[in-house]
Amino acid sequence: MSVDGPKSDDIGDIQTHRPELLLEVADLVKHFPVKRGLVFDREVDQVRAVDGVSFSVARGETLGLVGESGSGKSTLARTVLQLLEPSSGSVRFEGREIAGLSRRAMRPLRREMQMVFQDPYASLNPRKRVGQIVGEPLLLQGVARGAALRREVQELLARVGLAAEHYDRFPHEFSGGQRQRIGIARAIALRPKLIVADEPVSALDVSIRAQIVNLLADLQEELELTYIFVAHDIGIVRHVSDRIAVMHEGKIVEEGPADQVCDQPRDAYTKQLLAAVPIPDPREARSRRRAVRPS
């Protein structure tokens, strides 16, 4: 197995597990077959959604995963969590190989890693009350029930900035930001070690985005969480991340400390991505335009 993914020195040899690393991903591949044909489904091609990706995440840190639409971020996130079966490669969680584990073998590990999704509208069951939605993982894993469950859920709601009286309401009665809080409460219910957040603020209004970003930061500190934060907005990614990995066409093209990737990008694609980010400062925007288009 070749190890050409991680480039910075502090990651070291990923063949031997180091306890400070929560997650080690090596040469991960996820290809989707492209099928054609009327009578026989012939596999004519493959979408190389994740095409040989290696990285690791230390306990308590946030790895930002940035890239344009279709670059493979969501597929990578889901493959790491074994929500999609990898085509090949290795995913080690606390040193233990989880790639290709059966559903049953994965089950106890599910508590340890949770996902937060982009669309707070689509990811919550509209027919269930908030209390049920947040309490479901606790009930399914047999952690709590009855009055103890209700208490636990109310505590979770308070932790994400919702009120106890929200317990009996339905998701449609909440704003986008509040729904994202519900999704986060559900994700932290089982006290996971790793949270993979796939575009958790992309669908939210600017004024709500900052609230959720700050909430995630508070929870990380209180609960010693490790995050993989997926987004296409490199400004948000830089704000939340310790390290950033830039994805392009299924590969990680650059990886390093957040400020270094943004201030001194080495990869041509990263540079192109950064140059396209609008600067919310009219004077700077003007001088940048003059530099590009001498009149």
């Binding site: 600017v206 004024s207 900052a210 700050n214 400004g235 919310p280």
Partner: protein, 344 residues
């Protein structure tokens, strides 16, 4: 000063719904001059789209209540007949929406749709000439190989190409005003940069006036000349681009500017935020609609502030906040930056 192309005065748009009346736009006024880019910013539900759609009559319905005045080169559009409005749409005002997939019919080729749009307005133009115009327009918005790609179906275009084709269709009849409602929100930043450069070129070369609706202040900084900030159906601040960014007068604007993440600056420990959520239009607080979220609220705020010029040196810079300008300049400084301190 250039004669305004579009004059919107005291525009009010309400909707009668099962649960009560929604005042989606409440007393909105602004001008747009030829070649000017006016940006409308604000969070979702603040009335940006309703305002833009009402200009071209798209909110007319049995349960909408529309009042005020919209004049295009002096001609009133608010009570114009449907036929007249249809002519204005397309010929004088082009429109681009957020999702270009909804604007093209998926079963017809892109070129045919542009040709039909052209011919619907210009009976004097034949098919082949209309096709030439379509190729030329696709070329001018940067579609590679336009003579070939014109026969593609919409789904054969990428998202960015569809959005550019949409702009091409909106511009084929050489309108004087383009209304672009979140035209780049669904696009990647590299494609967004191309679309913004295209819009900027059209403004410069053709004197195209644009109303650009966006929630992205980065986009605003790149292309706008003037900015309108909307909150809960009302304009809370309006001014030139530099006035809004460097001397913002309304606490909501401070909050928007403060919560931006910037890749060209050191990142703050914590992202400054606006607390709470926008009010429901059906149960607005009395007085200033920003009161429940405003850390600077004081005893005058239960009375609605007018949209007034409060700075002697900037008579066209308007805002709706009772605080004194000197107070504002002091209060908006949060750790050396413009921002909003979260209320305790």
């Amino acid at each position: 000063m250039t004669e305004p192309l579009l004059c919107v005065r005291d525009l009010r748009v309400g909707f009668v719904t099962e649960t009560g009346r929604v005042q989606a736009a409440d007393g909105v006024s602004f001008d747009v001059a030829p070649g000017e880019v006016l940006a409308i910013v604000g969070e979702s539900g603040s009335g940006k789209s309703v305002t833009a759609q009402t200009i071209i009559g798209l909110t007319r319905s049995p349960n909408s209540r529309i009042a005020g005045s919209v004049r295009l080169r002096g001609a009133e559009l608010i009570d114009a007949g449907d036929d007249e409005l249809r002519k204005v749409r397309g010929e004088q005002i082009g429109m681009v929406f957020q999702d270009p997939m909804t604007s093209f019919n998926p079963v017809y080729r892109v070129g045919r749709q542009i040709v039909e749009a052209v011919r619907a307005h210009r009976r004097d133009i034949g098919n082949s000439e209309a096709r030439e115009i379509a190729v030329e327009m696709l070329d001018s918005v940067g579609i590679p190989d336009p003579a070939q790609r014109i026969d593609d179906y919409p789904h054969e275009f990428s998202g960015g190409m569809r959005q550019r084709a949409m702009i091409a269709m909106a511009l084929a009849l050489e309108p004087e005003l383009l209304i672009a409602d979140e035209p780049t929100t669904a696009l990647d930043v590299t494609v967004q940069a191309q679309i913004l450069a295209l819009l900027e070129r059209l403004n410069r070369e053709r004197g195209l006036a644009t109303i650009l609706i966006t929630h992205d202040l980065g986009v605003v900084a790149e292309v706008a000349d003037r900015v309108l900030v909307m909150y809960a159906g009302r304009v809370v601040e309006q001014g030139t681009l530099d006035e809004i960014f460097y001397d913002p007068q309304h606490p909501y604007t401070w909050g928007l500017l403060g919560s931006l993440t910037r890749i060209d600056r050191d990142r703050p420990e914590r992202l400054p935020q606006i607390s709470g959520a926008p009010p429901s239009l059906q149960s607005l607080p009395q007085g200033c609609p920003f009161r429940p979220r405003c850390p600077h609220e004081f005893d005058r705020c239960p009375e609605l502030p007018g949209l007034d010029a409060r700075l002697a040196e900037a008579p066209a810079h308007l805002d709706r906040c009772w605080l004194e300008p000197e107070e504002k300049r002091e209060l908006r400084q949060v750790e050396g930056q413009i921002g909003l301190e979260a209320p305790k």
